[in-house]
Amino acid sequence: MAEKAETKKTTPRQAMPEQKPEIRRRNFQEVPVGYTMEHAMTEASRCLQCKKPGCVEGCPVGVDIPGFINLITKGDMTGAIRNLWAKNSLPAVCGRVCPQEIQCEGLCIVGKKGDAVAIGNLERFVADYERMHGSGELPPREKPTGKKIAVVGSGPSGLTVAGDLVRKGHDVKVLEAFHKPGGVLVYGIPEFRLPKEIVFSEVAFLERLGAKLECNQVVGRTVSLDELFEEGYDAVYLGVGAGLPKFMNIPGENLVGILSANEYLTRANLMKAYLYPEVDTPIPIGKNVVVLGAGNVAMDSARTAMRLGADSVRIVYRRSRDEMPARKAEIHHADEEGIEFFLLTAPTRFVGDDKGRLTGMECLKMELGEPDASGRRRPIPVKGSEFMMDCDLVIVAVGAGANPLLTQTTPDLALNKWGYINADPETGKTTKKGVWAGGDIVTGSATVILAMGAGRKAADSIHNYLTWGW
């Protein structure tokens, strides 16, 4: 036993094969190319199969991590995907976009003395293996209950709710406002980080399970929440996302050449404008691009701009590297691809030419003061440190707010002071009977997996309601 543990320790973490930075910075193909079977078996063998696994506690949806990894070591990929599906409807997505370093892998015992087991890479491997070589056999579905549920929004939380409830035998319809399903997975996360084909295949999987999907349905406009109940739905889940872009509110922000990250990424991802003119939606191509903000969305925007052919792409952020909210892997990838970081820098105004097109941005240097409410050190402007930065495209990626489209038309839905829906954190129940909510429209911008965790809890609560009552 001791000897076995020793071998495990000496086996290094299997590096994920990736496209080289100098090549991938100009293409939209996925950056990591995925483990081979050999990588996966070797990596899986590093797991200690802890009796009290920390990794599971770190997973917002409670995936049985040692369990699925053990099945990989036995070569039972069908067993492994079944195990994953029991807790996670979207493993191919989560394996790619979860912040594993602060979740499962952050609590991995192997990681205490060396590199954690590459749980995310293994999850991705199992899901990809099933998609490419799997039997296509569906997980079991309970017998029909005759209950109808409408899921509003087809992002990560909505898809989780749909997957959970359809398996419990309920009749589920997902309503999506865009013309394609997937929510932020499709309009927000770029192709090079999450190929859209994977999202569509996860959605197709849910449809094969029996969930119905309808696009072009703007709930709050095309149909109201109350009308859904009139149509005979027994419960409604709201997972509409945050979806209101925040701007800087500084002079010159409406110049041509300043876009919200939402607009820039939606053009690039959902509308596939990176293929323009093969597709009809254009996207501004910047020579000198500035991205404001340092979260995952900022990294996605910066790396997209580089791929579209920019000469320079700069991330401008008012705090320091330690406070950057993006996933470590994204910052690392951006760095490798030649994105420059202008830290402790904040814009004060934009300037343009006589045609109203952006030509530059005035910035101010910052220094870090005492910690603020977020626990991060507050940036304080350095007097007289103004300087100009030439740029012809600015992408504002400083977060999102609550989109009021649905909530405005549903007055009996209680909101907090920022306009997010008040929902019980344990059940997702809102103040309106028969209505649940989860994901970014409750918490504000967060991660795919947290939205899925909220969806999981809400699905359990909806199932209880449909079985026992409110």
């Binding site: 703007v218 406009r221 872009p245 939606t266 489209l405």
Partner: protein, 277 residues
């Protein structure tokens, strides 16, 4: 697919009418609201304010001018064919109120959007005077419909080929001098709305304009359609599309509408070359 049940070419084929099967949208649509249309898989999402809706028949009507590749693709769609995606109704409906005498000013395809609003203002009991204009007689649309929707109709052409020789603003000025006008609704090209708003400001008559900036989603997500109204940034898709004409920064709007003009020109030319080949 959203099937086209009626198709009509107007103004010598430069303007096209499509009546489209969209029962859910037709049930909800009110004057002043818009839809987003996408013709096919590679298509662009194009916002267009509806010219009519028929809840019984389950159809909506759009009238658009062919200005680029996307609208050229729309034009190529025949009856029985259709749009891959139609999303709506979007935006806030026009606030219709009985005020007394109101003036409806329309130019180009703006007349199509103005028509249901004019009808609504008349039905609610206003005295409606309408002024519509076009560059010349052969590209003037919906004269008969506007005649029916209004108590009095003035027609103007820039080249004098029909009606008053000159701009709608000249006739508007005369009407404002004579009548006690409570509201002006102006829908058309941005310069027209700008100059109408300038004149009505001198007369201190509240003015409503309907804007059609560049947008992607139409649900408040992208912020591409932002306009400055009274110094504040508004999203035309959810806060509009109608705004107080006295507060809109029309110059900024015109510049923002030009954001992709180079791309659009090239794309359209390439498309036309391809069609001819």
């Amino acid at each position: 697919m959203f099937k086209i049940v009626q198709r009509k070419e107007m103004a010598g084929g430069t303007i096209v009418l499509n009546e489209i099967e969209a029962p859910l949208i037709a049930k909800k649509a009110k004057p002043g609201q818009f839809v987003i249309l996408k013709a096919n898989e590679a298509g662009e999402r194009i916002p267009l304010t509806m010219a009519d809706s028929n809840p019984e028949k389950g159809t909506i009507t759009i009238i658009y001018m062919v200005v680029g590749k996307s609208t050229a693709i729309f034009k190529a769609l025949k009856v029985g064919e259709g749009y891959q995606d139609v999303i709506g109704p979007l935006g806030k409906p026009t606030h219709l109120e009985k005020l007394g005498t109101v003036v409806c000013v329309g130019g180009g395809t703006g007349i199509a959007v103005l028509n249901p609003i004019t009808k609504g203002l008349k039905e609610i009991g206003n005295n409606v005077i309408s002024i519509i204009g076009a560059r010349s007689k052969d590209i003037l649309i919906l004269e008969d419909e506007m005649q029916v929707a209004s108590h009095k109709l003035h027609v103007c052409t820039d080249d004098g080929s029909y009606g008053h020789h000159g701009f709608v603003t000249e006739v508007l000025k005369q009407v404002l001098e004579k009548e006690d006008v409570k509201l002006v609704v102006a829908i058309g090209p941005v310069p027209m709305m700008k100059f109408v708003s300038k004149i009505t400001k001198d007369f201190n008559v509240p003015t409503m304009v309907s804007l059609n900036p560049i947008m992607v989603d139409g649900t408040g997500m992208c912020g591409g359609c932002r306009v400055s109204v009274g110094g504040e940034t508004k999203f035309a898709c959810v806060d509009g599309p109608e705004f107080d004409g006295h507060k809109v920064d029309f110059d900024e709007l015109m510049r923002r509408l030009q954001a992709y003009s180079e791309d659009e020109k090239k794309c359209y030319n390439d498309y036309c070359t391809l069609q001819q080949a």
